[in-house]
Point group: none
Chain length 210, copies 4
DNA sequence: TATGAATGAGGCTTCATTCAT
DNA sequence: TATGAATGAAGCCTCATTCAT
């Protein structure tokens, strides 16, 4: 019985947290971070200002968690996209597909891009270590992208994490101005060159095993 | 005579501008942008608060100009470093040396890194178009790095600007967490892999001509 | 119980509002509107500057409400003065007495005059529609002055509201320079002519009924 | 010769003054008085900020002179309108026509109305005594309206100036909300009642002579 | 837990005025 | 006379944070 009551309370807290995340993301991406006040967030979320402080230390705390959360979501979606396409077998193709999904997500949702692009790697790295108000639903991390394949073929990479880090940095950074300002090229025209570069990086990091 | 008076006034204005740039950069990099107030800048520069508004629209205006200005400086220095080393002949090596210089500048000056890293490309692109309070001393642009070599050998690239853009984005983004947080690796250990990746990207973009 | 808490808070809020009205009126009439800062008002009222903004949008908002409030007070007092004097029976005399009371209030309280004179009609018209932070204590409006008499005699006026509007405009406008600058005449010497004019206006608007 | 030079300088000064009056009036009526800065005025007039102070003590000084100036213009125009219409002979009709002209001027030019209406009498009274930067071109004053007729018939008024003062106060005050807000009635519907009131006032002040 | 009135420091910006040229 | 760069006081307003309920 106590459990039931507890879980009811927990559910309510969870709900408040969710709405705080959603509304603050909405505000950060529409008004901009520094022009969004805690007052804004609270009133949009339908809670009192004081309540905000029961869940977050301050605005910066909230943003960091939001970046981690959204970074997770993006990677999770990309990871699922990769797995859903049965025709992809090599790791190289998996990474390209993974990257492609991220670019597509950003293209479709430029506010998401604005919010997270330059911090995507940060989001990925810190997702795991964020405090427990973030529920790491998927437990996604880059290694998993690699793992599935590792068993099925003989290709190894010097340091897959570092390689992915470089790739993600290049992709997310490049996307930013390409999608938002068409600089140096619109994303459609940039993609082929970007994918070529990714493949080139991967080849350079490959260790063939017997 | 009138010219003399004018130039005297102009010189004074130039001086004010310089000190405003220098002191604001100092403050942005020590206190952080959002915690630096215009009051801070003015009092540190030894001018009245109102004077600030004779030169800049607001803090954001100043920052944008500063990013362009510093981006210029970094590239200029890197370009000179490349040219000073007589043993570098191929374009590939020139780009590596250019990149290396940027990384070294960032390593030596982490406040510069913090301030500009994620916006280096922005700085490079916008330097030219910023209003005339910024004097584009060097007239540097990426093409120049490429030009010197173009005449001496037969190598061409699909789109050198795009290629450099991708490389700069990867390098500056990667540097950021590597130098500041040693993630995913300390910069010394990361460099070899980074350079490998750069060379790989360049090769993938190469068009051999006869 | 909840009601009690609520009413306690409400009472406090009401009290804050009252003191803000009183002190701001004091300052507007002594220092002048444009030379009174919100800082002045807040510190005189013994509240924090931010508190001001919980009650008013800005200084102009406060002034408009104050004009409406004071306009009400003046009319209310004048209306009571009229009714207290049992010997007044005709509508004509009621209007004269009403006007006389207003002039006397202004003569005794020149700061009130300065503050509201040229906006008395505005205050009267807008009192009712001002937002609910103003409590229209009396529900006074010009019609009431007229109503009491209408039943007791056969005199009607073309448009009593318009007539009163013209009269109030003439009286308040004229008072302003007469009381404050003795121009074109001191108020004592002006009054007879003013009352003659009022009676003349009323006669011109009268519709005799059988 | 010296005279010629002097007059040239005088003409230049006069020109500067004119443009300062014109532009400041434009700004006061579009942006509002308190939102118009001396900087605005100077830059709109095409003179340096410092120059403003060679002509006016401050913004308030300028406004007072402008009110007097515009009050003059309005009365002058109204006076001419009256005289141009040959069919008007009685003083009563002259006053009505004079009033009508003022109302028409305000109706056609609501910014003028906003600027001066509530201070029309002030403008009329003070026109003469304003310092010599204002050239009282016409030397108009209310007495002149009266004078022309005085000789031709036997009607006298107790105190024509006071009477006109009351009338102008009533008319200008009433116009303000009637023209700008249609309260208590649109100006077209108000006019008949207003004119009736004016005639009534005049009658009440009349002294028949033999 | 949740509320929201109150706080007051501190940011931004404007602007009248001066004064060296 | 005329200029306009420089001043710095002073205004407005926001907002994170607290705390009594």
């Amino acid at each position: 019985m106590n459990d039931k009551i507890l879980s009811k309370i927990e559910a309510k807290k969870r709900q408040k947290l969710d709405i705080l995340y959603n509304k603050s993301f909405e505000l950060f991406t529409t008004k901009g971070f520094s022009k969004t006040s805690i007052s804004d967030i609270a009133s949009n979320a339908g809670v009192a200002k004081g309540t905000f402080y029961l869940y977050f230390k301050d605005k910066y705390d909230l943003r960091a968690k939001l970046i981690a959360l959204k970074g997770q979501d993006i990677c999770e979606k990309a990871y699922n996209d990769v797995n859903e396409n049965g025709s992809i077998v090599t790791f190289e193709d998996r990474v390209i597909a993974f990257t492609d999904s991220i670019i597509n997500q950003f293209t479709k949702d430029t506010v998401l891009l604005k919010f997270i692009a330059k911090n995507l790697n940060y989001g990925i790295i810190h997702a795991a270590i964020v405090d427990d108000t973030i529920i790491n639903k998927s437990g996604f991390n880059i290694a998993r992208l690699y793992q599935k394949v590792r068993e099925t073929n003989n290709i190894k990479f010097k340091s897959p994490e570092v390689m992915m880090f470089m790739i993600v940095e290049m992709v997310s950074g490049t996307c930013y101005s390409s999608i938002l300002e068409n600089k140096p090229l619109p994303i459609d025209e940039l993609k082929p060159q970007l994918f070529d570069s990714i493949r080139a990086i991967m080849k350079s990091q490959m260790i063939e095993e017997d």
